[in-house]
Symmetry: C2
DNA sequence: GTCTATACACTGATAGAC
DNA sequence: GTCTATCAGTGTATAGAC
C-alpha cells in the first residue's frame, strides 16, 4: 500500500501521532496535524470530533510501544537469566525504533493521570492482567530457590524498566552532556545497551561468586 | 519572613514555579500564575516582560535540583564505594523533596532543547565544568586499579543517574501499576531506594566475589 | 468526504489611570 | 507598583456549500 492509497483516517492518525508524540497534547495544534496530513483542518473534526478523542487514540497506540508485549516473555519457559536477557534486549530494540515514546508517555501520564489511566485500562481490559504481579512472584521464586540474592522484587523490576527507558527519556542529557552532542557515540551507547543492561543486572543479583 | 512579607517578585516566582513545574510551558497560563500569586496578570509582565523570560528563570532554578551539586561528591577524597553511596542517597533525598522536577526538566529539555541548552550553559558558565568527564575518568581509574570490573564508564554513569531519577519521572507507572495505587508502599519503596541503588550498583561492579 | 468561512473563547501582551 | 480595560492573535470547533 503506497502513501497515496492510505485512507484519510489513517493519514490523519499518522500525522497526529507524529505531532502529538513530538509536542505533547498542550503543544500540539490541530492546524499542524492537518498540515502534516496534507488535508483540511475541518476533516480532523469530521473523523475524530475533538482534539481529545484524537489524542486518546494516539495515546493508546503509543502506550503499547511503551509497555510492550515483551513483558509476556516472563511467562515463557526460558531460564530466568534468558528471560532477563530477552526482555531487556527486546525492550531496548522497541524503544530504538520509537525513541520519542517514553518522554511522551511519561509526560502525558503526569499531565493527566486520570485520563491516561482510563486509556490504559481500556487497552487490556483490566490492569495489564497483573503482569507485574506475576513478574514479582517469579523473582521471589528465584530468590527462594537460591538462584539469585535477596532483593525486593519491585526494586528489581523498576531497575530493569528504568535502565531500559531512561536513556531515551533523557536523551538530551545523555547525548548532550554525557556525550557532548556526539550523536554517533550516543547511538553506539544505545546499541550496546541491548546486552549491557542484562549483564549489569545479572551481575548484581547472581549468587555464585 | 512570613508569607505576606515576601516581595511581589518572589511571590510571582514561587507561583510560577508551582504552575510551570506541574503543567509545563505549553500547559501553563499566565492567568493561572497570577491567580496563584494572588496578583494581577499585568504585574507578571511588569516584572518579567514575557512568559518565556519567566519560564527560563524557573527552568534554571529547577535544573539545579535536577542536576544537584551532589555530583561534586565525586571530587571528594572518599573511597569509591562511599562516593557511590553518598551520591545516590543524596540524589534520591533531593528528589524526594522535589518529586515533580524530573519529568518537568526531561519534558522541557525535549520540547525545546536549544533554549534549555542555553539556560543550562548560563548556569555554570560552561557545560557543568565537565563533571561527567571527571566522573568517567574516576571510574576508569578504579577499573585500571582492579577495584571494580570492566565496564564502560558512561554506561555506569547513566545507570546510576537513571536508577535515581526514573522512579520519580515514572511515578504514575510505578505507583499506579506496580504498586496498584498504594501510595504508602510507593513512598516506602522510594525511602529504601536511598540505600538500595548503591547496593544494587556496587554488587554489580565489585570484583572480589 | 472535503472544502471555505466563520463563530466563539481564550491568551499573551500593552496602554493608561491611579 | 498595581490596577482596569482592551487589543491583536490564535485555537478549537461548527455551519454550510459543493
Amino acid at each position: 500500500m503506497s502513501e497515496e492509497d492510505k485512507g484519510t483516517e489513517e493519514l490523519i492518525f499518522e500525522a497526529a501521532q507524529t505531532v502529538f508524540v513530538q509536542k505533547g497534547f498542550d503543544g500540539t495544534r490541530m492546524e499542524e496535524i492537518a498540515r502534516v496530513a496534507g488535508i483540511n483542518k475541518s476533516l480532523l473534526h469530521y473523523y475524530y470530533r475533538t482534539k481529545e478523542k484524537l489524542f486518546n487514540a494516539i495515546f493508546k497506540k503509543a502506550f503499547s510501544y511503551f509497555m510492550p508485549k515483551v513483558l509476556s516473555t516472563i511467562s515463557s519457559d526460558l531460564s530466568f537469566d534468558e528471560k532477563i536477557k530477552i526482555f531487556t534486549a527486546t525492550y531496548v530494540e522497541v524503544l530504538l525504533k520509537n525513541p520519542h515514546i517514553p518522554i511522551f508517555i511519561l509526560n502525558e501520564l503526569n499531565r493527566n493521570p486520570d485520563n491516561a489511566a482510563q486509556m490504559i485500562g481500556e487497552l487490556t481490559g483490566i490492569a495489564q492482567n497483573d503482569t507485574f504481579g506475576k513478574f514479582s512472584a517469579l523473582i521471589q521464586e528465584e530468590i527462594d530457590k537460591g538462584n539469585i540474592r535477596s532483593i525486593e522484587p519491585e526494586q528489581l523490576i523498576v531497575n530493569l524498566i528504568g535502565l531500559c527507558i531512561f536513556p531515551f527519556a533523557a536523551r538530551p542529557i545523555v547525548q548532550g552532556i554525557v556525550f557532548k552532542n556526539d550523536k554517533k557515540r550516543y547511538n553506539e551507547f544505545l546499541e550496546k545497551r541491548k546486552t549491557e543492561i542484562a549483564n549489569f543486572v545479572l551481575q548484581s543479583i547472581k549468587i555464585e561468586k
